[in-house]
Subunit: 572 residues, 2 copies
């Protein structure tokens, strides 16, 4: 390439150097005849200066924001230095200036800060992505991906591709379907994950597989979900849970070091699913702050309090610095509790030697003292008869309090393995079991699955970062009979099993090694590593909450001929 | 991991070492009480030996082919060494033996050689892939992918992901469609390539992009095509054709070195499209052998020969060693010529001082001598009025002769850039132009596109390896007006342009840098580098020629509820 430097590179050491630069005119100023142009590329900004006597002065006068230009010149020291940017000590005195392309005034400003509406940003995504902060998200994503892949390759994993045009095996989320032209009336499905393929790689003896895999779910979207997303899909044979955990820890430790220059300590904390739920009210607790949930029932034994009697569980947590917990805030917190399966929220506040709160009047001074509250403490209590509901309510309350009272240290990464999961979940309404992870997860004991499925435990492990589940994995079933038993327990008929998973159950009988794996949600990992809370920031061309591509206007009408060829009728 | 070695690793240096191995029983033999088991994993084979007095002898007796086992033992020297395999000098005397999983007799043998039918192999793909030769294809594919990616990352390219759920913009091949549930009657389309997205990355200022991208075409399949395929998609800004060619050469040189330990010389040969067609009868000539096509018309000036008179072109090529060209073979070759747009095939054979062949009788001795034929030469001649047809026929003949007479040196890689392409192709029947590459390819001169589209040349370049097009690229149009002119010339109406490419034409006006790129067909590159001729060998889970997944049985019927949700009727 003919260009000598990029725009984040030049400093006082380059003074006197002849350079050839290119980029976008980020800002053009005319100061008493001198024209200054901030020349931007993906690396940074260099200031160009053009004097009135310059033969290219006329060219410079034509340049507007976002014009694409190239310039030759010499690096000189700036009179008034800008020490906030790497190139702020120098400028380039231009000797030759060429306009490569013009630009109309863009509908959004190409600056780090923007007040453009999200719809506008999505419609003009190519301009939104030109904003340096957005370029950084994508560049970091690429760097993170390379770092992760690097560890896996180093560890002897092979990157193997699996089909996007697969078979529909609905279980859990909804499939995206693709009509077949050659077999009218039949469909391919886009994969929700390469789960079955990666297990087949193990059957095939590939031993260590990974893929940066695109996955698809036709679900109504939440803020941190996209209809298509990317996972780092990992599977290995002849391993146990600890082997997979060790690999994943190595990936994350090395990636954080390489990309963020941060030291993360391994092994990560391990916590059982039950402890996570009971101590933090969540299966993905944020470990950056404490505020543990505890059993308050003993404090209330013998207390006659309408709110709490006949409740199987009375649990709570303490906010340390709660002096500004107001009535209004309590209302808000009660609302959070109720939205998250809690019946009600009680509280006791201790301030300046005084107890206040909804239930204080029912309690004696001794009983109040027994809580051991310190100055400014607020004890929040949620009673209830369903352990999971009480936990969920307190878990949500814990997060809300942490956010409201700024209890979350910034730039901190706290990893956690949540282990010892139940294998199944019983749905009372449908009167059937669902797999807590997926139907290929191995039980700790096949006997337990057979005799007491409700209490059977799984060889499953989730990895949590800062309150987000960033990955889930398990040791898989490698025995054909156990796999059949699992399908049976899930209520699949023999026909169902045959039609949907027949080839897979077949595959298991020809010498399948013990195996297991994990999938990391790449989008989430990147989101957390780049300190944004919007998953769209780390996806180049995201869709809206209603699965629409605002830029391309997809989905869209298609030519009727296309539908005729597929022999389908739409919108009926 | 508890295992100490893999099965390709142990040799005489390890004698006396305690080892812990795992894998599949590839072969079990009982020789006079001693049981020998060939233990196979993806790395190789180790021979285990179990003596009758071993407490695990009973276990060993149960083991059948493809059982999954693990064994502890000590490395000992073999009495009768097998020097054909790396571990052939040693065996492992087993001290502990555990069966991890049993195996029924597999429907295909897990050996490098197979006589199983392709349908059987595809149905039991997980067993077919267990054959070491197949594992090697996939492992090489992964290694090739890493090598290619390594060069791109090193060169400052960022790996950026683009959507699979895109918009249908039919031009060229047929799109796969995905019905939208949220907007009934509308569709996403799977991308035929990320062309528009990668150009938008350039608009967004990402400057250097790549992606190992999955692409989709709903076309009737040929042997070397799959409905989904993978391309190494590359795009860069502020570059010209030579910059892209240099990057691609660097990728290929380094990848061949790293994976095959082969030195490939760059820069690669360059040839114009016109020369490729006229000298080799193909836009992707195989340069591993010569046999150039040449103009024979001068030799026939003044000859009155019904076959050749009134023909605009009389062209031919010489087979050097043609002594066993028989009448029957000529019939076959005539057939090849006719199947490839040739009207007829004439020939002159020179052997033992005698000329023979279909047209000899019309020519004088002097005229015959003027061809300069040497002993055993056969001159093949194809006349015709259409240059492209004559070239195509001779090109096909050239390939057929090379195959029949083993003129292709093995283990040779000959790269070629085909450059200087016409921009457009005129379709006489439809009375319209088509883009020779795609409608985003820049013309060498916008003036020429405007005033004389038929003769306009493109800034396009294909890369050819051993007669296969392994990649195609171009400098793109970065000027909005030129892009409009291109669409106009292709006969797209204003509405068409707006509906299909409106956002893209819009995007071009906000400061688009000059840019260009190329896409390498990864499947083909891997196929050529692994010396197979079947693209299915290098795709983990390929589909049949009729786009069927034999293993999963996809496409398949789906639950009527799924179609109701999508509001589509199928098979109508």
């Amino acid at each position: 390439m003919k260009y000598t430097h990029h725009n984040g590179e030049l400093n006082q050491h380059h003074v006197g150097t002849s350079v050839y630069l290119k980029g976008w005119a980020a800002k053009v100023r005319n100061l008493g005849g001198l024209i200054f142009i901030d020349l931007r590329d993906r690396y940074g900004v260099t200031q160009l200066v053009i004097k009135p006597e310059n033969p290219f002065y006329g060219t410079a006068l034509q340049i507007r924001n976002e014009y694409v230009i190239e310039a030759k010149g010499v690096v000189i020291e700036r009179e008034s230095k800008n020490l906030n940017i790497p190139t702020g000590a120098i400028e380039v005195e231009v000797s030759e200036l060429i306009i490569l392309n013009t630009a109309e005034t863009p509908p959004i400003m190409v600056t780090n800060e923007t007040d453009a509406l999200e719809d506008t940003r999505l419609k003009y995504r190519y301009l939104d992505l030109r904003r340096p902060v957005m370029q950084q998200f994508l560049m970091k994503r690429s760097e993170i991906t390379q770092a992760i892949r690097g560890v896996l390759v180093e560890e002897g994993f092979y990157e193997l591709e699996t089909p996007i045009l697969g078979k529909s095996t609905p279980e859990g989320a909804r499939d995206y379907l693709v009509p077949s032209r050659l077999y009218p009336g039949t469909f391919y499905a886009l994969p929700q994950s390469p789960q079955i393929y990666k297990q087949l790689f193990m059957v095939a003896g590939m031993e260590k597989y990974f893929q940066i895999a695109r996955c698809f779910r036709d679900e109504d979207l939440r803020a941190d979900r996209q209809p298509e997303f990317t996972q780092v899909d990992i599977e290995a044979s002849f391993v146990d849970q600890e082997d997979i955990q060790a690999i994943v820890e190595k990936i994350l430790v090395k990636t954080f070091k390489k990309v963020l220059h941060l030291d993360v300590k391994a092994p990560f904390l391990r916590m059982s699913y039950h402890d996570a739920l009971s101590l933090y009210g969540s299966d993905k607790p944020d470990m950056r702050y404490e505020m543990k949930i505890f059993d308050c029932a003993p404090y209330f034994s013998g207390v006659d309090l309408p709110l709490l009697t006949h409740q199987k569980f009375i649990r709570g947590l303490i906010l340390e610095e709660g002096s500004d917990v107001t009535r209004k805030r309590i209302d808000h917190l009660s609302h959070v509790v109720k939205k998250n399966h809690g019946d009600t929220l009680a509280y006791i506040k201790f301030e300046k030697g005084q107890y206040s709160g909804s239930i204080v009047k029912y309690l004696s001074e001794d009983q109040l003292k027994s809580f051991g509250l310190k100055e400014s403490n607020v004890l929040f209590i949620v009673p209830g008869n369903d352990f999971e509901h009480v936990s969920a309510a307190l878990g949500a309350l814990r997060i809300e309090l942490a956010n409201l009272y700024n209890l979350i240290p910034s730039n901190t990464y706290k990893f956690l393995w949540v282990v010892d999961w139940p294998l199944l979940e019983y749905n009372e309404e449908e009167n059937r079991f669902y797999a807590k992870h997926h139907p290929f997860t191995a039980p700790v004991s096949a006997e337990a699955l057979k005799n007491n499925p409700k209490d059977a435990m799984a060889k499953a492990y989730d990895i949590v970062l800062n309150g987000y589940e960033i990955g889930g994995g398990s040791i898989r079933i490698h025995n054909q009979e156990v796999q059949r038993l699992m399908f049976d327990t899930l209520g699949l008929s023999k026909d169902d099993i045959q039609n949907r998973f027949g080839f897979f159950v077949d595959a298991l009988k020809y010498g399948t090694p013990p195996h297991g794996g994990l999938a990391l949600g790449l989008d989430r990992v990147v989101m957390l590593m780049t300190n944004t809370t919007n998953i769209k920031d780390v996806v180049a061309f995201p869709k809206t909450q209603s699965a629409k591509d605002m830029m391309m206007q997809a989905p869209s009408d298609v030519d009727p001929v296309q539908l005729e060829e597929l022999k389908i009728k739409a919108g009926v």
